[in-house]
Symmetry: C2
Subunit: 452 residues, 2 copies
Amino acid sequence: MSGVKTVFEPQKVVLIGSSKIREKVGMASPQLFKSVIYNMKKFFGGKTYVLDVNGKAGYKKLSKLPEIPELAVIMLPSKQSVEQAEKCAKMSVKALVIITGGFRDEQRQQLLKIKEEYGTRILGPNTIMGVINTANGLNTTFERNVMPKKGNIAVISQSGGVGACLLDWACFYNVGISKFAFVGDKIDIDDVDLLRYFGNDRRTKVICLYMEGVKEGRKFIEETRKIVKKKPILALKGGTTRESAKRAKSHTASIAGSDEIFDAAFKKAGIIRVKDIEELMNAAIAFSKQPPMRGDNVAVISNVGGPAILAADAVARNNLKLAALSEKTKKRIQSLYPGVDATNPIDMIADARAERYSKVLGLVLADKNVDGALVINMLKSCFFEPEDAEVIKKVAARYPNKPVVDVPAGGEDFTLVYEVLGDTSIPLYNLPEKAVKVLKFLRIYAKIAEKH
Amino acid sequence: MSGVKTVFEPQKVVLIGSSKIREKVGMASPQLFKSVIYNMKKFFGGKTYVLDVNGKAGYKKLSKLPEIPELAVIMLPSKQSVEQAEKCAKMSVKALVIITGGFRDEQRQQLLKIKEEYGTRILGPNTIMGVINTANGLNTTFERNVMPKKGNIAVISQSGGVGACLLDWACFYNVGISKFAFVGDKIDIDDVDLLRYFGNDRRTKVICLYMEGVKEGRKFIEETRKIVKKKPILALKGGTTRESAKRAKSHTASIAGSDEIFDAAFKKAGIIRVKDIEELMNAAIAFSKQPPMRGDNVAVISNVGGPAILAADAVARNNLKLAALSEKTKKRIQSLYPGVDATNPIDMIADARAERYSKVLGLVLADKNVDGALVINMLKSCFFEPEDAEVIKKVAARYPNKPVVDVPAGGEDFTLVYEVLGDTSIPLYNLPEKAVKVLKFLRIYAKIAEKH
């Protein structure tokens, strides 16, 4: 098993910390240690050993363990972390996750030397939250009981804070995750290693990446070009201005580079760039559930007029097209529902319920002029009931090559429809503009997959 | 009392509908009638009469009422609505809200004639949801129990659907509303009438406007220029492309005009344009709670690195500046907290709690180089506890001329801090980018208020 794979799929793990040491400024603390132990014991399906370097929480020395674990998770101040890393390497532990930060350059060099001498792979230091694998329950975070549901979205975050925000977002909004990697200072295992691993991971369908900088640009581009043939990579880049890039450098010791260079690099690499955390999650959900969009033509089907107009505006703004429905489709719709004007965006009127949605969506998706559909179904000011939304899933399933996204626009309306469709293959968004944007990303990826 | 004022502040209201008529395609139905009666009886502080034109739900004729109400809410099919409107006008009812849609041009002309002959002011037809006034409990919507909390944000929506979405959003996210107006076809009372009324309404601090078109552009610009001296107007424009504008025309019978013309008109009028419903609500919340921003210089204070970098990126993207803190401020911060680098954006490190937030925010707001502050306080991956957020409100209150916005980034983290600060003067956003955008709007309005 490769070292990177060991980080996510170990059978046996040792947690190395202290029930006594508390850093004044820094992460190492008895509480953090306890919380990681708690999560691992609660979620991890393999064997978890605890090594308490100067306390009573578990074993006192690595050599006392009945067997050698493949993975060690280290959460000590920098000096002790380096010491423990070396001991692990000598005992043939295959991989290390170093949670704590505040390492000096010299200490980073020491870690690198350990890696070179013993072949031990290292994630970190300064990963803050380490790794999560929802398949085997591996969870080295210190947020008690924070575990996203199983799914096919992998996340790589260079920043502990952005990663924690993504994790919180995923848990709160019930987004299905395959694996989470907090990479920190990237002295050894870097984005490319992780992208390659996730690229081959059959449980991962789409990869999300938060990055502030990259060390070997050319290698990064070459490797990602191979991966995006198989699955989409979405990237959020932090440090896009001179000032914030400077800050990013001190934050995760990475060279940020100018924003234009990154833009060009992402394009060349076939990576889809997003502009904030919500866009990243929204796009990931769409890719995790729906196919790429094979053409520009979007049909909008709604039970309200205004939000459909806002959707149509967004279609144009995002360089997509409002599908021109065939005369046959229009005639069929208008003969079924004489009050409905079947010009796209289609306002099916406030009294539309399951039957009308089912028939009109079916006719629209069957139209060869349509590449994808955006459905709006509001409850407020309309007769639509949450359970009516079931038909959207059913009709969409008959057209597996055309993406369908749903917009129960608003606050409560969104949550009520989410209860019906949230766990299905239909992605839901609370505003039409957000749904159009994900259709744009589904369209962009179709082009990337063709080209690469 | 002017007719427009009567629409929002009547003492006595008559609801005119039918417990029998159900339109095949259209809004009129016994259920809608019942729901409006339910809401008015539940929320309205004045007197509510019910007139059931062909059933037993209340009085059978207007002339049988013991007194003449000032306002009539009509929810009948178009033909009967016109008949009832005329009867009301003859009985000196001062204003009408016409809920139902589907009026032909000829019928709109008849309504206009009634207005001209009797001076009766008319909101609608096709308002769908009519009006809400949280101060007196007036609520003519047919969504049972949907009533936003009292506040100082007024909303005008040309579209029933967008209005319903805004209403749902406001209720779900607990946004404080003064008044809601669904304007529909605008045959009489139009945006200008409503803006003028809200401009003078002491309970309204900021006005939100969803519009698809305007009839008298010059008058609209002249009037709004006067109002924006007193309070900000935020506008979301639907129908920005040729195709969607065409749809908007059939939707609310308005002339949409080209998007560039509207952009120029909004600028001239001193109206702040937003790009979606969330941006509209986010900006409104900021204006309802915080002062305009008198300069471009934003300080970012955070307990996590990555999200602070994303905030800094957004500051640049939104044409604001990262404040250059004075040497004195930096020295004070660094002497208090030696581990903290006091360069803006300030990463106060994951163990920052109430005391550090209080001191650093106080020092930053006291700095004359700072015009506003964006605070980020994540819980996940940090030591911050929700109740620590109290200090943000306290410190911000000492600097009433500098806006402060707070970002508990993420999902659950946001809701936990919302429980502490949601009902206070501090606006909360779930991502740094959204908070920066509202600071931009607070800055734009400061410039508008100076100029106009």
